[in-house]
Homo-oligomer: 335 residues x 2
């Protein structure tokens, strides 16, 4: 049974472990500071496919197949897969997972999708609705850029607040188990709208949601940020991270000493055009699966909060004058 | 605890009830055979909004607020809302639910979304991860038409196999309870690809998925179609329903006597341009919430299968030569 704690947090009473995970990335991510950690790093971001969208689908296929290999499992061993992405109608999940034949529940949380798929998957596993579940998501710089911003061929200059959509995917296997890295608590995010309208400053759109979810979790669990080895946000990037620190300092915790952001970890500031850092569903998905989870498994960290953030918008909503609300889902993970 | 039955079915051991629901529709649906059943039927499909997308968002807002009124609840009483829609990046859910402040887990299942949101919500409620959850989805003829097919102003002629996207939304409240209409089993759908490429024949794209999920459920539960008062599909329409009957007759059950389809129920064949019937997330959502659930509550039906189907495609995937795979999620509901 799961148990509700305080206003918004769920404690998973039966232990759900992240048994294995796989992170897959493209060329620029391979050259970044975490390049050696990823399970697979492609040299060509087209992955031999005729379109960027099909390349992104392939990232999900490869991530899931790599995960199954690592866990020595077949597709028929998996009861349900939770998957989502940034493309219209989540087509990279549909076409990336089509051949696998695993029951699918599509998720949409924009860049918060990795935490969301793991959260929903963990509830299914904890309750017995699934014995083994996979959580997977992806993003691709080129498919995102042309869908959300400008055609690649246009070669537009990007603003300093812009982030670079990570070409990558991450897949994690959840099951019941006594030993291993466990998902202990979940806090589902609410929509936070600070009326940001600049689609080139997603960090600002998402930081308030991260602050809101973190505050709600800390209140519900009667803990402070110093009770955790690491507070890991998804893809706030440098500007969003700075804003998160400022928002939280207004009424309390200074998380600067133990905060890291996957968008800042994945690229070096020296790397061309990454500007404020990495973003996209594949950013925290690949970083969590290939870099963070192994450190938890080795007990370098034992008690972390993983807060993935998403900006809930479409080009249509922006063209119709809507702001860019954010959302953030939190997982408390222990090893 | 939930329990897995056979290969793919989940039995909810703690009773999850659909305590209340609300269906909201537009003008054409108001004039259809179920017009008098809907909780709210608007006379103008713009709902006083400047764009079709904002009108669709408003359908979700109205559906949830009507549901809360019927259940005599406030937004703060709801632990989590599961919501999704057909628009790119699910913006009708985002902007329709933004002001409510309820923790949100976005779902993407195309037109299967109502069954999906109820299935995921039921697992959350059953496990204790939520005490009260709402499942909601919507579609709007005009926002769907211009996103998936042609601009409204073009006035293109529609083929006889085409379906008419329902302007409507449905919201259902799930909670633990002993008496009432219960969700007893869930079968999560798999992607089924019969290589349909005609975006004007969604019924054909989705029928194989409905057949697959129904077969898997019947095998897992050792039951036959005659054990159920009603087999209710989402929006196969007339052509998809016929195909479903043919597919199932190949290896067994003739479901014709106790099969109904929300896409056939919502419009009269006499209504202009509906052709093969209604479609869209809002089709089975509004029909289930306003027409089916009250009949279950009055015990006119006591034991039904609700199978909502979705076509997993985007204009981009079709333009890139992909087929249109289908998916179908099943709920076994008893009263």
């Amino acid at each position: 049974m799961a148990e509700r704690i305080g206003q918004s947090t769920v404690r998973l009473c039966q232990p759900v472990i992240i048994r294995a995970a796989a992170g897959v990335v493209g060329h620029k991510e391979r050259k970044g500071p975490l390049g050696d950690y990823f399970d697979i790093a492609f040299r060509n971001d087209k992955l031999g496919q005729p379109t960027w969208e099909k390349a992104e689908s392939t990232l999900q296929t490869v991530a899931v197949n790599t995960l199954l290999q690592k866990a020595v499992l077949q597709t028929r061993d998996i009861d349900v897969i939770f998957a989502g992405d940034l493309l219209n109608q989540c087509i990279s999940s549909t076409f990336g997972l089509r051949e696998l034949g695993i029951p699918l529940l599509g998720q949409y949380g924009a860049c918060s999708t990795m935490a969301q798929t793991m959260a929903v998957g963990a509830v299914f596993v904890e309750s017995g609705a699934a014995n083994k579940a996979i959580a997977v998501t992806s993003s691709h710089f080129c498919s995102a850029e042309r869908q959300f911003r400008l055609p690649m061929e246009y070669g537009g200059q990007r603003t300093p607040t812009a982030q670079w959509t990570v070409t990558g995917a991450g897949a994690a296997l959840l099951e019941r188990g006594q030993s291993g890295v466990k998902i202990q608590h979940i806090t589902v995010g609410r929509i936070n709208d600070y009326h940001i309208i600049d689609a080139n400053n997603m960090g600002a759109a998402m930081a308030p949601a991260a602050a809101d979810t973190l505050r709600r979790f800390l209140t519900d669990t009667h803990t402070t940020v110093f009770d955790y080895d690491l507070i890991l946000t998804g893809d706030l990037g440098r500007i969003g991270s700075q804003l998160l620190h400022e928002l939280l300092q207004k009424d309390g915790p200074d998380i600067t000493p133990n905060h890291q952001d996957c968008g800042c970890l994945i690229f070096d500031t020296e790397q061309a055009e990454v500007h404020a850092g990495g973003s996209g569903c594949g950013c925290c998905a690949s970083v969590f699966c290939s870099y963070i989870l192994p450190k938890l498994q080795r007990k370098e960290w034992q008690n972390i909060l993983f807060i993935a953030t998403g900006a809930l918008m479409s080009p249509t909503s922006s063209q119709q004058g809507e702001s860019i609300p954010g959302i953030a889902h939190l997982l408390h993970i222990v090893s």
